[in-house]
């Protein structure tokens, strides 16, 4: 192994990427951990917004529906970078005003929390649309049957609608997760120490731009490919007992 590395003239690269100083590999992995932390948080937050948003769009009053329409349209038309800047500055400002307005102490928002909040709002708009489509795909009869059994709306949602829509929602949700992981890179521009910014700092400190950018690209790709495998499993599980989409379509 070692001779191979030397034969290829890669010993310098290996040294740069090694996990302990003077290698910068540890920094990249820390950055990746931050990226994933923010991506997971934003994804979960986005799903919560999406669930309520989808319900609001389908069952809400006209005002709620229009407001949600404005929300999803705006988020889908304005660049994430601009939204991140607006939400980053406005969000923390606003939250503190609300909190102090209720008479509590000013809260300090960590970088990770701010990242989760801004990306979560963005994710929420897309999740709203994905889940709305999935709920619409659930046969009306199933929901009516649940109502007829006297289930409350919340119980219907928990026991019937959500399980039944999962198989329709998963392809869209898998895509959203990939967007979430990639969007964390945008936080580099606001100065969060996630993978892309760590990479840039390592690259500019050592001037080994190609080495580090390619290494980071490899890390992102690993996350993407691994997630693909996981989501395929989840999809197969969620579709248990159902005909596959292809059969259903024909």
């Amino acid at each position: 192994m070692n001779t191979l590395v030397e034969a290829l003239g890669l010993s310098h690269t290996v040294e740069l990427l090694s996990l302990s100083p003077p290698g910068w590999g540890g920094n990249l992995l820390r950055g990746l951990a931050h990226s994933l932390e923010i991506a997971i948080g934003a994804y979960a937050f986005g799903l919560i917004i999406g669930l309520f948003g989808a319900y609001g769009k389908l069952n809400g009053g006209p005002v709620v529906r229009d407001l949600l329409g404005v929300y999803t349209t705006v988020v889908r038309a304005v660049p994430e970078l601009v939204l991140i800047l607006i939400l980053y500055f406005v969000g923390t400002d606003l939250l503190n005003r609300v909190v102090t307005g209720f008479g509590y102490e000013r809260v300090e928002i960590s970088g990770v929390a701010a990242g989760i909040w801004v990306l979560g709002i963005v994710q929420g708009a897309y999740a709203t649309e994905v889940l709305r489509g999935a709920i619409l795909a659930v046969p009306v009869g199933q929901i009516e049957a649940a109502r007829a059994y006297g289930m409350s709306p919340l119980l219907t949602m928990r026991r019937v609608t959500i399980p039944a829509m999962m198989s329709f929602a998963i392809p869209g949700l898998a895509n959203l997760w990939l967007i979430a992981t990639k969007d964390t890179a945008l936080l580099a521009i606001v100065g969060f120490h996630e993978l892309t910014l760590e990479t840039k700092q390592a690259a500019s400190s050592t001037r080994a731009y190609f080495t580090f950018f390619l290494a980071a690209g490899g890390l992102y790709l690993c996350v993407t490919l691994l997630s693909g495998v996981v989501f395929k499993r989840v999809e197969r599980w969620a579709r248990k007992g159902q005909r596959s989409l292809r059969e259903a379509g024909s």
Binding site: P62, V63, D66, V74, R76, A77, V78, P79, E80, L81, V82, L83, L85, I86, F89, V90, L178, K182, D183, T184, A185, L186, A188, I189, T196, T199, K200, A203, S204, R207, Y209, F210, F213, L214, A216, G217, Y220, L221, T224, L225
Partner: protein
């Protein structure tokens, strides 16, 4: 007409009035005195954003056609690289791709004196070739996947019929296959183009002065935070709206395929 009637629902009238009140409040109580000073710069930046969007969309789409074709019907030695390319582009953040090209590739070139002396150098030292390359490749990566489906979706019988008419393979491609594939892909093109618009501000991070960079400059020069960002959001929404309308018009012009 129906859109007009939809706006006349009572709760919508109230909401429109509230929005107008909000806009009026923004206009009066926020600071907009910087606009005249930066208007020229902003128009230049807007033009640059639109220019980059149009050029990279067209280049990216042209690249997506062979990528889609290779994946749909190509032999493995063409389809495998095409699939790998799409996976890599879609699996890594665009910002990383832009920085890899601009800082990575850009730092390699000057190490070779003959590049610095060549006639290409005046272009290579500017930022826009890297931005155009990165955004075109990105669009091609996403749209290549769409085109794969679009090519596969063209009915076999049509191509067989064309063969029976004695058309050459190229004519079949040009007259039957490609037009139908584009027609198949058209509904997604509008959305993909809006996504491309949303990707353009990333080029500001490699010194290109697009509309986003102008807004950043206003923010830096005057320390006004919200106003330039809000105006920027409105501008992007307007462009996205125009793109959506354009593709709607385009779809309306293309005859609907009988199923």
């Amino acid at each position: 007409m129906s859109a007009f009637r939809a706006a006349l629902l009572p709760h919508r009238i109230v909401m429109i009035l509230l929005t107008l009140a909000l806009v009026a409040w923004c206009a009066y109580s926020m600071r907009w005195d910087w606009i005249p000073k930066y208007a020229d710069l902003a128009l230049e930046g807007l033009w640059r954003t639109i220019w980059i969007l149009i050029v990279t969309t067209i280049l990216g789409f042209l690249l997506a056609i062979p990528l889609g074709l290779a994946q749909a019907v190509g032999p493995w030695y063409l389809s495998a690289p095409a699939k790998a390319f799409c996976t890599i582009i879609r699996g890594t953040p665009l910002l990383l791709q832009i920085w890899l090209l601009y800082f990575g590739l850009g730092s390699l070139f000057p190490q070779f004196p003959w590049i610095r002396e060549s006639e290409l150098w005046p272009y290579l030292r500017q930022a826009w070739p890297y931005a155009v390359l990165a955004l075109s490749l990105s669009y091609a990566g996403y749209e290549g996947e769409v085109m794969r489906g679009a090519f596969s979706g063209v009915a076999k019988g049509q191509i067989e019929a064309a063969k029976a008419f004695g058309m050459s393979r190229f004519t079949i491609f040009r007259r039957i296959w490609l037009p139908q594939a584009i027609q198949n892909a058209l509904p997604t093109l509008g959305g993909e183009t809006i996504l491309q618009l949303k990707a353009t501000p990333l080029v500001a991070s490699i010194t290109i002065i697009d509309i986003y960079a102008v807004a950043s400059r206003v923010r830096q020069d005057t320390f006004i935070v919200y106003e330039p960002l809000l105006l920027l959001a409105v501008i992007y929404m307007a462009i996205a709206g125009i793109i959506a309308l354009f593709f709607k018009w385009l779809e309306g012009r293309v005859p609907v395929k009988a199923r």
